[in-house]
């Protein structure tokens, strides 16, 4: 017989092809978002131009709400199962993180859909028109592109899949599903579009570089275990009939791909540029949701697949965590642009999250999940404030422009002060409770590495408080600059997003126990 002969029908029937069990209820959150995104593409094609924005926003909002309800329903049923063969794991962490993603997605969507601050919204009308051309000046006041809504939904559905993926292949596809729309969204800023395109290029090239590492790592792990499902890798690591070298090299390369997405040092170089260049609403979306998704994936990989290799990976990832905290905190001090400052702060926060993850305990997992939720709300609210401080050229992000903002707009400056204090980890804010939970979980393990990490974490928290407080001091105590920016009156959407973010930051700081309990009950992976 020859390999290229065409099989006769009898041969085809000889293979047993049966669809695996697909639990549609458990997959509903992702499927709803995929469906709504596809519908959004059709809306863009057929709806009249004036009504597109309204329809798209309503569609995305409803889809996210339905997805949230589906997650809640699934959580109430208490499902703990592997579905689609073993490709998806629907368990506590999946549902908690998917719920977090849905809520943060709604809040970020409010910022993406805001059109009161600037005529036409924060996105360019036609990105294909070269910057600075005659046509570009003409489109300056046209309605922004509405394709951003389906792209946002695609990204969110990819993120939800990413936290549920139970094998490396599904995880890789999900990684790309949420990355590609983000690359595009970065390039669509209305103002300073050259910078925005540059951010997209950097994000794209480095992201593709990191995915290449992920793929090679996946290949090596497949070579090691004969399968790429996390359970299979775990079993193979347990038996260890083959050389563990493939396991460790593969793990290292997969980790590069994941650590890139969470912006851990030394894979963080894209973060400040992309955070600064992207439209601020997209930055808020990335800072909150990408972090949740990427950490969800990393936690699953570490806890489910590499539980056995724990002692070997702890020093490496521990070193990365220390570097991440140090570099993030120290470079945040030197920043002069508020978006870059928040970018470095987000790098440092990735370090704190790694501290929780490296506890390798139930408490570590639950505290990291709580941290993700708490940080997400605060960071979205902070970026929402940044969209408000504007001058003729759009947002005024240079720190010197923020001097004396307290006199100009006490309310907005007050809100931002509160958020900065939350980032700095002052008690009665979610920043304090989440850091406390993470460090507490690490100390609870009582081993050398977690304790060392906590010490570095506390020291860098103190360093990091300095840039935050400098912003606060600048807003309230400095003389305003000659041409101080104006604080725009937030539209309904931005106000709502701000309100949710600030309230969540306050409530999670004062009464954290319901969410902490929820995270605690959810903190168990299935294999």
């Amino acid at each position: 017989m020859n390999g290229f002969t065409i099989a006769t029908p009898a041969q085809v029937l000889a293979i047993d092809v049966r669809l695996p069990d697909l639990d549609y209820a458990a997959m509903a959150p992702m499927l709803v978002l995929f469906g709504a995104a596809c519908l959004g593409v059709l809306v863009d094609a057929f709806a009249p131009r004036q009504s597109r924005h309204t329809i798209q926003f309503a569609l995305s909002f409803i889809a996210l709400t339905v997805a949230l309800l589906a997650v809640i329903r699934e959580a109430r049923v208490g499902s703990r199962e592997l579905t689609a063969d073993v490709a998806l794991a629907i368990d506590g962490p999946t549902l908690f993180l998917q719920g977090t993603l849905a809520v943060l997605g709604i809040v970020a969507l409010l910022l993406v859909g805001e059109r009161a601050l600037e005529k036409g919204g924060p996105f360019v009308s036609q990105a294909a028109i070269p910057v600075g051309s005659e046509a570009d000046r003409r489109q300056a006041r046209e309605e922004g592109a509405t394709e951003v809504f389906p792209l946002t939904l695609f990204a969110l559905s990819g993120m939800m899949l990413f936290v549920a993926a139970n094998d490396l292949l599904t995880m890789f596809v999900a990684l790309e599903v949420f990355s590609l729309p983000l690359y595009l969204l970065c390039a669509l800023a209305r103002r300073r579009r050259l910078v925005s395109q540059e951010a997209a290029l950097k994000y794209f090239l480095l992201g593709a570089f990191a995915s290449a590492f992920f793929i090679f790592g996946m290949a090596l792990l497949y070579g090691f275990a004969g399968t790429v499902s996390f359970g299979g890798i775990h079993d193979a690591a347990l038996l260890a009939t083959t050389s563990p070298l493939l396991l460790f090299t593969g793990l290292a390369m997969v980790a590069v791909g994941l650590l890139f997405k969470i912006a851990a040092v030394p894979f963080h170089v894209w973060t400040p540029d992309v955070y600064q260049g992207a439209p601020t609403s997209v930055t808020a979306f990335m800072a909150a949701c990408t972090k949740v998704a990427a950490f969800g994936g990393l936690l699953r990989v570490l806890y489910v697949a590499f539980d056995r290799a724990r002692w070997d990976i702890e020093p490496v990832i521990g070193t990365i965590a220390i570097l991440t905290m140090l570099v993030g905190a120290i470079l945040a001090v030197t920043q002069t642009d508020i978006k870059r400052l928040l970018a470095y702060s987000s790098i440092a926060n990735a370090g704190y999250l790694l501290v929780g993850a490296l506890a390798f305990s139930k408490e570590g997992l639950s505290s990291a999940m709580f941290y993700l939720a708490a940080y997400g709300f605060t960071v979205i609210a902070a970026f929402a404030v940044i969209t408000l401080v504007r001058d003729d050229d759009g947002e005024a992000t240079h720190l010197s422009r923020w001097a004396g903002l307290g006199r100009e707009a006490p309310l907005v400056a007050g809100v931002f002060t509160f958020l900065m204090l939350a980032f700095a980890g002052i008690p009665l804010t979610s920043g304090f409770t989440s850091k406390f939970a993470v460090f507490g979980a690490a100390l609870g393990v009582g081993e050398a590495w977690p304790v060392a990490l906590v010490i570095v974490g506390v020291v860098t928290s103190m360093i990091l408080a300095f840039p935050y407080l400098r912003v606060v001091v600048m807003m309230w105590l400095s003389e305003p600059a000659e041409q101080s920016p104006t604080v725009a009156i937030p539209g309904a959407f931005t106000s709502a997003a701000l309100m949710v973010g600030v309230l969540a930051t306050l409530l999670l700081g004062v009464f954290p126990s319901p969410v902490l309990d929820l995270a605690d009950r959810a903190a168990e992976f299935i294999r």
């Binding site: 000889a14 669809l19 593409v41 292949l169």
Partner: protein
Amino acid sequence: MSTVLAAAGVGAGEAWTFWILGPLAILAALGMVVARNAVHSALWLVLVMLCLGVFYVVQAGPFIGLAQIIVYTGAIMMLFLFVLMLVGRDASDSLIEVLRGQRLAAVALGLGFAGLVGAAFFRALDSRDAIGLAQANAEGNVQGIAASLFTRYVFAFEVTSALLIAAAIGAMILAHVERHKDQKFTQPDLMRARFAPGNYPGPKPGPGVYATSTSVATPGLLPDGRLSDRTISPILPKRELTEAESTPKATEGR
């Protein structure tokens, strides 16, 4: 059972293939990295991909091998070449080092990594016997792939559709320009514009053709001897005439 399907151990034919195409692939890969011209880089990469396609076929994967050649080399790399041609004259790379020593460091890092990992893999895999795909391919390679793709990997397979839709939207957003209403011209509009006062309705004069130069970048001369900008395409840099070219030549009769 043919060698294409068995492929557990390595036959002499495969060994020959490997030792010829393997080094060729490495050379082509190096060629891609060092080639100054981006188009040459792309062609080197095509060569690497063709070598890999042969390796896939030899390793009992005829379907993936042909997909590699048809889809990867034929479609994706052609897209690269297409964009390179659009980007055009800027395609060659500067060799100025912006970060001092970065190149050397990168190469040293790469050599170290390749040596370490290559040697380690070699040791790790040397003792391991390949099972071969004879059993998995028993019903045929395509059938075997389909059986897994539409069962175990069906969800990931469906999700790739989201990827393709996102890519299509992306290409459209970043490349498609919608014509504005007042940018659409009808034939009468064009005619009116053509014969409007101040516009020259006839075809433009050709570039200058001289005995010394037939370049389209050479502007033509007006009757009074001045150069005319209208005779050359605006995207071409104007070629200045040398002294020898612009002075009238002596004829024999003088």
